[in-house]
Symmetry: C2
Subunit: 281 residues, 2 copies
């Protein structure tokens, strides 16, 4: 029976947070406290859970967190006004607008309102392009987390064929760009892809970012491939069929405790990066 390496996201995240704690302590000497502002619009329970988890993670390593809760009836204009106030607030180093927002809000316009130097979640178009061109300060957190996991376990990327399933602006597209910039050959697949199983079977690295529980089947995976599951669906399951994929993969992220905790650690890291940049200005 195949025994893949379990890519332990909790361990990667702990390592990152240990490093961050040192930097937060150094900033405290200069009387700077990194601060992340999180905006939650409406009362989607899983979004509320994410926001709470992020707030707790901040607290544990000495990052201040501000939580702005807005009613579901908030207009795009009101949301943008809130964002602009946070842009103007010198004590705030990072702004996270929890995705998704209610349908009547123009999410893209709201994302664009975030000042580039506080866009620690990499959601602005400018941040996206800087990332695609390889010089972003803050790439989107989940894509960056996927790369951080590969790097922590010293899994080579250059020259490998990476197959990304999903093309969202905050996950599939930026992770494709980042893998390409690390010299992987990248195939981006999506709902209109024909012959998906055979294409996934080409991947040395497979990124599941499709948002459907257990979508990626075990027999799609090339023996020895590395599987990174960025999904998180009802019932605590990812986008890949973990048990079945484990039969073939050489390494795989579990769900939970895979990409998720590293995404949060990446958000904290970007907030500390931003606080250091602000302190040195």
């Amino acid at each position: 029976m195949n025994k893949p390496l379990i890519l332990d996201g909790s361990k990667v995240a702990e390592h990152m947070k240990d490093q961050l704690a040192v930097r937060v302590a150094a900033l405290a000497e200069e009387e700077v406290v990194p601060c992340l502002a999180t905006i939650l619009v409406g009362d989607d329970p899983s979004s509320a859970t994410y926001v709470r988890m992020k707030g707790n993670a901040c607290k544990r390593i000495g990052i201040r967190s501000i939580r702005v809760d807005l009613p579901a009836s908030t207009t795009t204009e009101q949301l943008i006004e809130t964002i602009q106030q946070l842009n103007d607030d010198g004590s705030v180093h990072g702004i996270l607008l929890q995705h998704p927002v209610p349908h009547h809000i123009d999410e893209r316009a709201a994302f664009e309102a975030i000042a580039i130097e506080k866009d620690v979640d990499g959601v602005t178009t400018l941040g996206f392009a800087q990332n695609a061109f390889g010089f972003a300060q803050y790439p989107s957190c989940t894509p960056a987390a996927i790369l951080a996991i590969l790097d922590y376990y010293d899994i080579p990327i250059e020259g490998k064929h990476a197959v990304v399933i999903g093309r969202s602006p905050i996950l599939g597209k930026p992770v494709s760009a980042m893998l390409l910039n690390r010299n992987a050959t990248v195939t981006t697949c999506h709902s209109r892809t024909n012959g998906l199983p055979a294409l996934v079977g080409l991947g040395d690295i497979v990124v599941a970012a499709v948002g459907k529980a257990k979508f990626v089947q075990g027999d799609w995976i090339k023996p020895g491939a590395v599987v990174l599951d960025a999904g998180y669906n009802e019932g605590n399951v990812g986008d890949a069929d973990y048990e079945a994929c484990s039969e073939r993969a050489s390494a795989i992220t579990p769900v939970p405790a895979g990409v998720g905790p590293v995404t949060i650690a990446t958000l904290l890291k970007h907030t500390v990066d931003s606080a250091e940049r602000a302190a040195s200005r």
Copy 2:
């Protein structure tokens, strides 16, 4: 013997220019003359030829063209100053900085200086990201030309596997993004790709954007594939071996008279688009 459809770029470009002439005439009624400013730094002879061709193409359909020639010794700061003057000049609707610039110049910084509403060549990071997200006003001209050729000949893109060879910021990356947004499955290959021939052989649509004469071999091509050659190398040859690829392709662009003339027509179209937008403000 296989007889592919020759994707005649001159014909596509003529069709586009016929449509543009009507729009230029309508603008003339409002006393608006579309104007493209082209900046050439240094005296690279092939760049000078491109700039001259673009100027002549403008003239033929009634677009005014301004040519700014700067010496090879121009600094990044001086170049940016020139660009800013053109940004501020209300009579200029499009700005093209001829690529490449001399090595001592920070080309990225110069591109970034172009105002987004005059970035008719789609070279700014913001323009790139808007294109990747599917809402750019002006995608890069060569990628847009490739799509225009496919559309002119009614070649389906959705659900097809497109293989792009090359990942430059103005060609490989944006054309990959545009094909993805048109629901192709996209594989982006480059100099570090392993097993390139087999990957190219998966492509229903193959885009050669690598900058090496006759690089793409005929026996790499899947029988029936569509080959788009964005290369233009010494000796008037493209990045694909035209004769050999023609043995297998169902459709192919020649070099010259393939992608090149449509790229120029696209630049003219974007300039007219920009003039119309300025006139309606």
